[in-house]
């Protein structure tokens, strides 16, 4: 479960308000898609949830744990995929995953089992002994995904997780997201791909200029906008609101 109360974020000396009083609740068993144009505040929101940025105003609770007051415990609930998978290029894929497993205190047998299984599913098993610097963008994305999912966190926070993935891996991930949510967990992800949002999400949130302009199901949005396609509704919303 993810709860965001009155969240605001101000950047720099010019006091640019990147997020303006955001309120949001994502329940257990739900896949929530976070949509918005470039620079709307999607990544800032995600960075605040994952403790990368300092919260200026408001509160975030991950499975009931206050991110401000108890950041480490909150982070233990999260599996995070950043928007840019450029990570620790001098390590090998295996070293990276082992590091993540050490951080989450996974025992040897369990990590071996899960890493190999996920690597097989995402088809990067044979590259795990290579340096990350030799990976393609898609392979890096897969590696980061495995790192985020392998400790089976109850809350997945994924920033543009489909970017760079081949169709088969994207399909695998979508299925995994569904299974994860169906098992009573929470998936929160940002995306630009309307088709994915429409097919995968239980609910969506649309953000523009740091403010949430819509939260609800795709059907609710369609009712409001006379049954247009999500893409068209999205474009209308961000232009008119």
């Amino acid at each position: 479960m993810l709860k965001i109360n009155n969240l605001s974020k101000i950047y720099g000396k010019n006091k640019v308000k990147a997020l303006d009083n955001i309120n949001l609740e994502v329940k257990k068993g739900e896949i929530f898609g976070f949509l918005g144009p470039n620079g709307a505040g999607k990544t800032t929101t995600i960075k605040l949830i994952t403790g990368i940025l300092k919260i200026d105003e408001g509160d975030i609770f991950v499975n009931g744990i206050d991110v401000k007051k108890n950041p480490i415990e909150a982070k233990k609930q999260i599996g995070f995929v950043p928007d840019n998978p450029e990570i620790f290029n001098r390590l090998t894929g295996l070293e990276y995953l082992n590091f993540i497993a050490d951080v989450f205190e996974m025992d040897s047998e369990k990590r071996a089992d899960i890493i190999l299984r996920l690597a097989e599913e995402f088809e990067i098993k044979s590259a795990l002994k290579e340096r990350i610097s030799s990976y393609s963008h898609g392979m890096k994305q897969k590696l980061v995904l495995i790192g985020a999912l392998m400790h089976n966190p109850p809350v997945w926070i994924l920033d543009e997780p489909m970017v760079g993935l081949d169709p088969k891996s994207a399909y695998t991930l979508k299925n995994m997201m569904r299974q994860h949510a169906d098992s009573g967990n929470t998936v929160f992800f940002s995306t630009h791909i309307m088709e994915v949002a429409e097919k995968v999400c239980d609910r969506i949130g649309i953000i523009k200029n740091g403010r949430i302009i819509f939260v609800g199901t795709v059907e609710e949005l369609k009712e409001k906008k006379n049954d247009e396609s999500l893409e068209k509704m999205f474009l209308e919303l961000i232009e008119n609101e």
Binding site: G51, I72, K75, F88, L94, D102, K129
Partner: protein
């Protein structure tokens, strides 16, 4: 060629951050001031090096004046600048190959091969021109002031200086381009960077040797001049091998004669011709060497069942963080060369200097005769341990080196103090290695085992405090936005600030060791760093969460 110049402008801007600086000057004065401070600090740190060179130039001029050969000062400056250009040039050309800002975007643009090479040549030329200007300014300045030359002399000198690096730099390209093609070296970046770095250290050793030789014959300038100007002396050999250096110096010295003008014009034309020939003959080869330099060969090594236990071994958090630190630093050639490797190589350079410099040996032997000087050697060993440990720059780059990776680290459930502990341990490991090397060297100075152990402990205690200083500076002013690993390591003001603080620590050790006598000095040598450490640690503990959250 216009496209080549446009590309060069982009390269220069991205390499030296000129646009960014101009923007900061108008909109962000604080960052602009930081950039100026960094340049001033770098200049300040080289004053010793160039001060010595200035001193020799003045001495040389005075002696050569007696035999009416003072023009040799200019010749010497031209030769010195040309040699330095070749040496630095090789490193810069290699570095430019590997930190290619162009990436695939530039290669995909409709630019001719000649444009690509010209742009790269101009970009590397900037560094060489700066070095050449400094060297020439000293030679020309000494000659000009002492000979009471007028404005035209300086103007001619400036024009000549602009052209001096062209031929040496072209030579570097003529050497490196075929090398990159035929040895398939462009794909062996790490190996090449390390070879290039060792070459750089080699230059350091040679330079030190050269300077120490000059120091040895300092007492009699005629010996020094003889050494440089006699048959097969430096000027003679280089003058014969690289005759244009004589043209340019003749041009500058005889600037008011027709012969001087002819020499200068010939030199300028020759320089331009060499660059033109370089572009004309090697641009195809250059293009071939950069195309596909980013290709990666996949080995696809399978994970065998028998390896599972070793591969997936569970580690404690601090060990896991330490392993990550260690691998990330030592697998990156830029970090390794400028960091940990210095710990091993600096003693080697000093060793060479020491054993080739008879005067230094005599001094030590005299010192050793009087056993009371043991305390002085003890103090020097502590200072050596502090200096050596700090030159690796592990702590004062610890946060900046993370770059964008810091955001991944911040998203993980790790307490900031644990991250700092791993960084501290990493610095302490190499500091201890430096201390061991220093201690082994002190055996030569007949220091007792007890003193050696004490020097090891005291030196490391001071280093511990300096690591915390470095880490705190990094937490407050990290340099996280960078596109090549040179920036957090070599263009990081935190390294210089931290180094100055470490120098202050070393000065304090010297003060305590020499001005305070007996047991009290030993107690202070231990107590002061311990107190410093505790104070810094408590400060860190109090503010770490705030500092970490604002990264």
């Amino acid at each position: 060629m216009n496209k080549g110049l446009s590309l060069a402008k982009v390269y220069i801007n991205s390499s030296y951050g000129i646009s960014n600086f101009v923007y900061n000057l108008k909109n962000n004065k604080k960052d602009a001031a930081k950039a100026i401070a960094l340049v001033l600090l770098i200049l300040f740190s080289t004053t010793g090096l160039f001060g010595m060179y200035l001193y020799f130039n003045i001495k040389m001029y005075d002696f050569l004046k007696q035999v009416q050969q003072q023009g040799m000062v200019i010749t010497m400056a031209v030769i010195f600048a040309s040699i330095l250009t070749v040496m630095f040039g090789i490193i810069t050309v290699i570095a430019n190959y590997f930190f290619n800002q162009e990436g695939d975007v530039v290669l995909a643009l409709p630019l001719s091969k000649k444009d690509l090479l010209l742009a790269k040549f101009i970009n590397t030329y900037i560094v060489e021109a700066i070095v050449t200007f400094v060297i020439m300014a000293i030679g020309v300045g000494v000659y000009g002031v002492k000979s009471k030359e007028g404005l035209i002399f300086y103007l001619v000198s400036i024009i000549a200086t602009i052209f001096i690096p062209l031929i040496p730099l072209a030579i570097c390209y003529f050497i490196i381009i075929p090398f990159m093609n035929y040895g398939n070296f462009a794909k062996k970046k790490d190996m090449f960077m390390i070879i290039g770095g060792l070459f750089g250290i080699g230059i350091g050793v040679l330079y030190q040797y050269f300077i120490s030789t000059l120091v040895n014959i300092n007492a009699t300038p005629e010996l020094l001049v003889n050494k440089l100007t006699n048959k097969n002396g430096l000027i003679d050999v280089v003058g014969r091998a690289y005759y244009p250096s004589i043209w340019v110096s003749n041009g500058v010295i005889n600037y008011n004669k027709v012969s001087g003008l002819l020499y200068l014009v010939s030199f300028v034309l020759l320089s331009l011709l060499v660059v033109y020939v370089l572009i004309l003959t090697t641009s195809n080869l250059y293009y071939k060497s950069i195309i596909g330099s980013n290709e990666v060969t996949k080995k696809n090594r399978e994970i065998r069942t028998s390896e599972l236990k070793v591969i997936f071994k569970k580690n404690g958090l601090i060990k896991a963080l330490f392993n990550r630190e260690f691998k990330l630093m030592n697998r990156e050639p830029v970090y390794f060369l400028n960091g940990p490797l210095v710990i091993v190589f600096l003693p080697v350079i000093f060793g060479i200097m020491f054993f080739t410099n008879n005067k230094a040996m005599e001094g030590i032997n005299t010192l050793l005769i009087n056993m009371q000087n043991v305390k002085l050697i003890f103090i020097y060993s502590i200072i050596a341990i502090i200096m050596l440990g700090s030159t690796a720059s592990i702590a004062p780059t610890s946060i900046s080196r993370e770059g964008n990776g810091i955001y991944v680290l911040k998203s993980l459930p790790i307490s900031p103090m644990d991250i700092i502990k791993a960084k501290f341990l990493h610095a302490a490991l190499f500091g201890a290695l430096g201390a061991v090397i220093t201690c082994i060297a002190t055996i030569y100075f007949k220091m007792s085992f007890g003193y050696i152990v004490l020097a090891f402990i005291v030196g490391n205690l001071w280093l511990f405090a300096s690591y915390l200083v470095g880490i705190l500076i990094e937490l407050k002013w990290p340099k996280l936005n960078w596109d090549n690993p040179q920036k957090p390591m070599k263009q990081n003001v935190n390294v210089i600030v931290s180094l100055f603080i470490t120098f202050a620590f070393a000065a304090l050790v010297y003060f305590i060791g020499t001005k305070i006598s007996g047991t009290i000095s030993v107690i202070l040598l231990i107590a002061v760093p311990v107190i410093l450490f505790i104070v810094l640690y408590l400060f860190l503990k109090k503010y770490i969460n705030i500092l970490y959250s604002t990264l």
